[in-house]
């Protein structure tokens, strides 16, 4: 019995890059976040997206990476198309919209991949190894765990509202914004309180409150692999930033 449980826990669900230490993935995400907004050249942004799509595709995320890459190319193309059209207000809004999405694609791609390929236990252990206090680790872990659930909860509330005919048209929602906030937010908060009780009970029985050092069956440590990936990431992103300021950054690839 015990052997079976151990096997279940140590069984690796994710391979290669997905099995890296959570800290390493988060560090990469922060670096992408910093770099993505400062990359102005079109070719550099494309290289950034493409290379991290490759990185993700190696670790259990091939489909997701391909989807985001295609999405990026389509949006970039549409954005280039926009230069030839000029509608007074709309084209300004659309250009800002397009650029915002282009900047957010690499971050969203990486962030959602991390959410899907990181086990919360691993994240918890690795955060505690960083000597962060419980006041930071527990809310952070709960939060990462809860953000995907919020979407499901929201959809359920909308369904219930539709069934009862409350705020069922967009027009009704727009003329009563406060009522809309109330109808959606209050049930959501009620659910949050309920979920908190359940999570607290489940966490306490598993020893979430204990202050002592945790041991993990899955090895969670910053080994040479993580150091290598982080260093490569830094070099790669710095190179991109540098190339962006040279003439390469001015090449226009999205032509119509």
């Amino acid at each position: 019995m015990e052997e079976n449980t151990k096997k279940l826990i140590t069984q690796r669900q994710f391979q290669r890059t997905a099995a890296l230490d959570p800290r390493c993935k988060v560090a990469l995400l922060i670096m992408i976040g910093c770099v993505s907004y400062f990359l102005n050249g079109e070719i550099c942004s494309l290289v950034l997206v493409a290379s991290f799509a490759l990185f993700i595709a190696v670790g259990n995320g091939g489909k997701w990476a391909a989807k985001m890459l295609i999405f990026y190319i389509v949006i970039a193309y549409l954005n280039a198309l926009l230069r030839y059209v000029s509608i007074p207000v709309l084209s300004v809004i659309m250009s800002v919209f397009g650029v915002t999405i282009l900047k957010l694609v690499p971050i969203a791609m990486m962030g959602i991949w991390i959410l899907h390929t990181t086990q919360m236990d691993d994240l918890m252990v690795s955060l505690q190894r960083m000597r962060l206090p419980q006041a930071v680790t527990i809310p952070l872990v709960v939060m990462f765990r809860y953000i995907p659930t919020l979407r499901i909860e929201y959809r359920m509330i909308r369904n219930t509202m539709d069934i009862r005919g409350i705020g069922d048209t967009v027009w009704k929602q727009l003329i009563h914004p406060l009522a809309t906030i109330e109808y959606i937010l209050i049930p959501l908060l009620m659910r949050c309180l309920k979920v908190t009780d359940e999570l607290a009970a489940s966490g306490t029985t598993r020893g979430l409150e204990l202050e002592g050092k945790r041991y993990a069956l899955n090895p969670v440590r910053f080994s040479w692999k993580e150091y290598a990936v982080t260093a490569l990431g830094i070099v790669f992103l710095a190179l991109l930033l540098f190339l962006d300021h040279t003439s390469i950054g001015e090449i226009i690839i999205w032509r119509v």
Binding site: S95, I107, V136, L140, M143, A200
Partner: protein
């Protein structure tokens, strides 16, 4: 009364902060796309729905440190999605100020909750809009110009953050916090206190 935060409080803070952050992201994205005028006032608008969440959080966990933890977690998340570094700093500083200067040693009441939330939202407005736009305007504008953002948007952004507009933006943030706190307390009384889920003085 036990003043120390325990695991259950941490979980509640985590869950509700997730909700607040999602609301913030949706509203800020929509408003910054809609145009420069709405962009600069997004902290004020965000403060209104978040007021309900924050009031519930403070009523449910009437202990010291809630603002600090909440601000820290939100700051880390802003850092993860590539936010400007001044936002996390403002959130953490605002949280500490609210926790230790305004809440102080007194028992948490409806009034102090509202005042603290108002200040918090004002500081957030400073960190999110006023700080970056007044100190780092050149870099910001340069980045926008290179990114093919339409010239009208950039001009609008500059004109709306010059002169005495920063003061207006911060005041709007404070006002948003006040309204949010007021609505939040009304919602709290109407739904949660009546149902016996929380009790506040």
């Amino acid at each position: 009364m036990n003043k120390k935060l325990n695991a259950k409080d941490f979980i509640l803070i985590g869950v509700l902060t997730a909700l607040m952050w999602i609301i913030c992201m949706i509203i800020s994205t929509v408003m910054s796309i809609a145009g420069p005028v709405t962009n600069v006032f997004y902290p004020a608008v965000v403060a209104i729905p978040n007021g309900i969440v924050m009031m519930l959080l403070l009523a449910k966990v009437p202990k010291k440190g809630v603002f600090t933890i909440c601000g820290t977690i939100q700051g880390i998340l802003f850092l993860l999605v590539g936010g400007f570094w001044l936002i996390p700093v403002a959130l953490i500083v605002g949280g500490v100020i609210c926790d230790f200067l305004i809440m102080g040693r007194k028992e948490i009441t409806m009034k102090s909750m509202m005042i603290a939330y108002t200040i918090f939202s004002g500081i957030f407005a400073f960190g999110a809009i006023v700080g970056p736009m007044s100190f780092l305007q050149d870099a910001f504008v340069g980045a926008m110009e290179k990114n093919n953002i339409a010239q009208e948007y950039i001009d609008g952004m500059i004109s709306i953050t010059s002169g005495f507009m920063p003061v207006v933006i911060i005041v709007a943030g404070l006002l948003g916090g006040l309204i949010g706190g007021y609505i939040g307390q009304k919602a709290l009384k109407k739904h949660f206190i009546k149902a016996g889920l929380v009790s506040v003085k």
